[in-house]
Symmetry: C2
Subunit: 159 residues, 2 copies
Amino acid sequence: MFEVAISPAVNDDEAALASPFVKCLVRLIRAQDSHGSWDGKADAELLADFIVSKEQRRTIPIIGDPDPDVLWRLDKFYTAVALAIEERSGLMASPMIEMSHEGFGRVLFTAGRLVVLSKTVRDVHRFGFETFCKLAAAGTKLVDDAIAAIDAYPEVARA
Amino acid sequence: MFEVAISPAVNDDEAALASPFVKCLVRLIRAQDSHGSWDGKADAELLADFIVSKEQRRTIPIIGDPDPDVLWRLDKFYTAVALAIEERSGLMASPMIEMSHEGFGRVLFTAGRLVVLSKTVRDVHRFGFETFCKLAAAGTKLVDDAIAAIDAYPEVARA
């Protein structure tokens, strides 16, 4: 590998923050900021709470109701996936999120008569990603899978 | 029309209670009766609370949380639809019911990658049917629509 002047992790973070999925997520979060109090904040700062290290994960209890802030982030994450799907396919993916208060649940996105995304989620209490890279990769994978489903059954997605 | 010895309404009720959808519903309800205390009850008695006349509807307030018994009946109704779909198509329709506590919501059934049923529900507080006939007709229509969708996109329903 080549030597790099700045740390590769920083470079990775920059690439992750520039990915279309993360841009959707940032846009959604900034849209909540009706008073402009986050205008001076960098994207990385706004997304800071999405990053949960392995050590942090372990300290979060998975009993009791998930923290409302975690549920808010989960909702924003999946809404950003829907938004990115719409950007790429022109089809509106309508999300349905079902969550038990024990932190288990199911996420289902449909477009027309097609299920574009179906995912069970667990340990919602600990929702988060180790790095910006992993956040970007997870979101982008969901969007890619959904686009592949739409490409496989275009007429169903428009039914 | 021919003259009938017994009232046509009674005949209609009998036909409704004999419909495959209503039979599914009765089976589901009887499955809840682990102590056999409803063994002596007729099907019509078990389903009595599903029947809400126009006058009764009007007296049910639509503010506040819907009655838990109403939510139970709503759940049984849609689960019976799923069961009847499975009986006819051999495919398991997995239901997802999202309900706000104001009584608005959405019901979504999927089989494979196909949305076999998508319905918004409102005024859940007043969920019920005027007659057994209307109960049978409403359930049967949902099942028919779902089967039509499966027939239109068989490979998606099995994807």
